[in-house]
Symmetry: C2
Subunit: 454 residues, 2 copies
């Protein structure tokens, strides 16, 4: 367009029929002619500008089409899939919003009075007596069977679908893992998906449920809480309950971290056992008050951060609160607390998951410790949520490995094993036979544990 | 541009210094002059065309930017979320593709020889004797406990995450539902997530697993297969095993649909029991040959469609194959098959889910029939897949209702119930007490079933 200087344009413009009489240039220029030439140039420029404007407008629409939501044709399958996902999401929102007409007449829950200490329920003071009387009167529901105390494993997850779609799949695998261990060892499972107390939601939700199960299952001697992100990785190992005859709480941790360093990770509440007794009810009652969500939990969090080494600033969590309680009231509680670290009642995943192949090579199930960890606990991975403390890839692959490492121990009885620790596919590890019971005698873990070879 | 006809352009083109000597028009035209004018026009046209080409190219890039993957800025949270989802999907694909370096040296599985009848394993002919000898020698693993036969519930789902994200959430709820029922009734659970035989994938996968469990668990008297889309909705009802003393297969269905109409839905293989015995091994062997995927399953499907009333055209499924087998070899098998319909060992969901409120009002758990269905089976809903036979909304809401209807019966012992059949939230249904054991005596289902009130 800068080249127009080098061009002189002389136009002859025919009259357009109708309304407009456009100037006609003369062949030899002159002032009148130059004016006509300029007008012609102007018109052409205008026309070009209009063309450019239209084109730019079109470009703008194209750029913005995503935002406006105009699609220019997708494949049928994509459309069906998209519709399915949108409909599912809409339903999920409905379910999550929990709009139930019967709620209309429910009175709103009253605000927690900050001057009152929160309680899990009415104070029970004679639980040991009530329970032993009941056991005497109901001998068809004994608390010991073949010399073994009855244990109930409590685990769970929130009632709503995970924010991250893969989360529910790993919750499913996690519960299958627990079903396998508990079947082999005769342990009952309760999978909790309800909030018994809306004040104690999140990681605190286990407290009211533990209490509720104690009071509803007098035949159960031990309630064992286990996080949904903790997997059994030693299918043979059994908790040596005999060791805890004089204790009521068994929890993984390190005494020096606890008493000397007052560290916020001195104990781990991802896996612990409570004896079903008065002492446990009392400890739960003492533990709960930091839990109610809102200002109480916020303020409690500050106290915990101020008093526990290494604790970041966030609302009170059950683990820090328990550590703080046991430190503050050491004489009252610690005599009956067994701080266990001879085996991995809780095994932090990061130092373990890369060693499974080495373990397979050198050791065998039944050890429960660093050679063959009883439980591998994926602290911080949070597959159900959106904000993990570790890289998603590392977490998911590690959980897959731990799951298959454990599953191999279960499948061994059936003559199968995973093709690799990352593989969902399995392969035969021995030939079939017309006399399968010899393998049952060799490989059924239950036969090994009744031999008390651990 | 069509308007150029109305304009005659006369150009004066100055010489460009250097290489090119461009024509100069004379003021009065002439042939030489016209030629110069034409060239001038051409150059201008060319220039305009170049401008348009550049602009169109730019437009093309903008249109295609989505495909090339160039984004022009999204919000931070969206980006994080998007990254999380993309990373998860990438990992899922990796897991699904099952790329394991240890597979490199595995020989490829040989193709099935279509002339050979497929078998589940080496033919076992003395299973009853093997098993009874084993039970005699291993009395610490009895097959009857307190007069009740030992039952193992087998269920499962594919090893990989569901195509539809909500699918894994409902699989999780389904297994929790089964854990609850089985805990109350002393039934063991095996949750299978592996394909023991790659030929028998999909709905056929249960056959090799049933056989495998029989042979590996001689202490188990009954293996009970239950689909993942079937939920317990009567937590009190117990299968009246005494009724089946002389039978080896218990399956829900209707004799007239089976023998008179030869209907493809005369029986339902979503929930059935096999006694652990030689007869069952033989039936499984006779059942399996239509299962191997590929040409065998396709051809078998045609036979089944041709012979069973109402069957659409698709590959052979286990249910149709069993019906066809029992019809074709009626004298051989039917004597030991109990076609049960006095209670809902399988209850088709559509006629049941809208009546739960009415049931709650009029009836009580323990009936197991149309008044209070034992099992509600969501045939056709397929929450794990993409292509359901029923509307997604209807299915998901109905499953939610069935789950909560059942969960209420479990929570009753703990003093809670769902706020509504569509609500994941719960509320207290009775006040707390300092003497909780009176409620245990009243509400623990196990105490009712030991009274054999069913």
């Amino acid at each position: 367009m800068g080249q127009e200087d080098g061009f002189k344009t002389q136009k002859r413009i025919s009259t357009v029929s109708g309304n407009v009489l456009l100037p006609t240039t003369t062949s030899n220029g002159g002032i009148g002619g130059r004016r006509q030439q300029q007008r012609g140039r102007q018109i052409k420029k205008t026309f070009n500008n209009v063309k450019m404007t239209i084109l730019c407008g079109f470009v703008t629409i194209l750029v913005l089409r995503g935002t406006i939501g105009i699609n220019f044709g997708t494949s049928n399958a994509d459309t069906i899939n998209q519709n399915l996902i949108e409909e599912t999401n809409r339903l999920l929102s409905e379910i999550r919003s929990d709009s139930d007409p019967t709620d209309i007449n429910e009175p709103p829950d009253s605000d927690l009075d900050l001057n009152m200490t929160y309680t899990l329920g009415p104070k029970i003071i004679s639980w040991d007596k009530q329970r032993s009387t009941w056991l005497t009167q109901n001998q068809e529901f004994p608390s010991f069977v073949n010399g073994k105390a009855k244990v109930l494993l409590l685990t769970g997850s929130p009632p709503k679908p995970c924010d991250n779609p893969i989360g529910d799949h790993y919750l499913l695998k996690s519960v299958k893992n627990k079903i396998d261990y508990c079947r082999i060892h005769g342990i009952e499972i309760v999978y909790n998906m309800a909030h018994l107390d809306k004040e104690l939601a999140g990681y605190w939700a286990k407290l009211p449920m533990i209490r509720r199960l104690m009071l509803s299952h007098p035949e159960i001697e031990w309630i064992w809480w286990m996080d949904s992100d903790a997997l059994f990785t030693d299918m043979v190992f059994e908790i040596p309950l005999v060791r805890y005859e004089n204790h009521n709480l068994v929890i993984h941790g390190y005494p020096d971290l606890l008493f000397d360093q007052k560290s916020w990770i001195a104990l781990n509440t991802g896996s612990f056992l409570f004896r079903n007794c008065q002492w446990s009810l009392d400890l739960l009652d003492a533990w709960a008050p930091m839990g109610p969500k809102g200002p109480i939990r916020e303020e409690a969090g500050k106290i915990l951060t101020a008093n526990l080494k290494g604790r970041p600033a966030f609302e009170a969590d059950d683990q820090s609160a328990l550590i703080y309680l046991l430190l503050s009231q050491k004489e009252k509680w610690m005599e009956k607390v067994y701080v266990e670290n001879q085996y991995y009642l809780h095994g932090f995943w990061e130092g373990l998951v890369d060693k499974y192949e080495e373990m397979i090579e050198k050791y065998h199930p039944g050890l429960g410790d660093e050679r063959w960890p009883f439980i591998t606990h994926f602290v911080g991975c949070k597959p159900c949520g959106s904000y993990a403390d570790y890289a998603v890839e590392r977490c998911l692959k590690s959980m897959e490995r731990a799951f298959n490492f454990a599953d191999n121990q279960v499948l061994k009885l059936y003559g199968f094993g995973h093709r690799g620790l990352l593989s969902p596919k399995i392969k035969r590890i021995r030939n079939e036979t017309t006399f399968p019971l010899k393998f049952v005698n060799r490989f059924d873990i239950r036969r090994r544990t009744t031999d008390k070879s651990v």
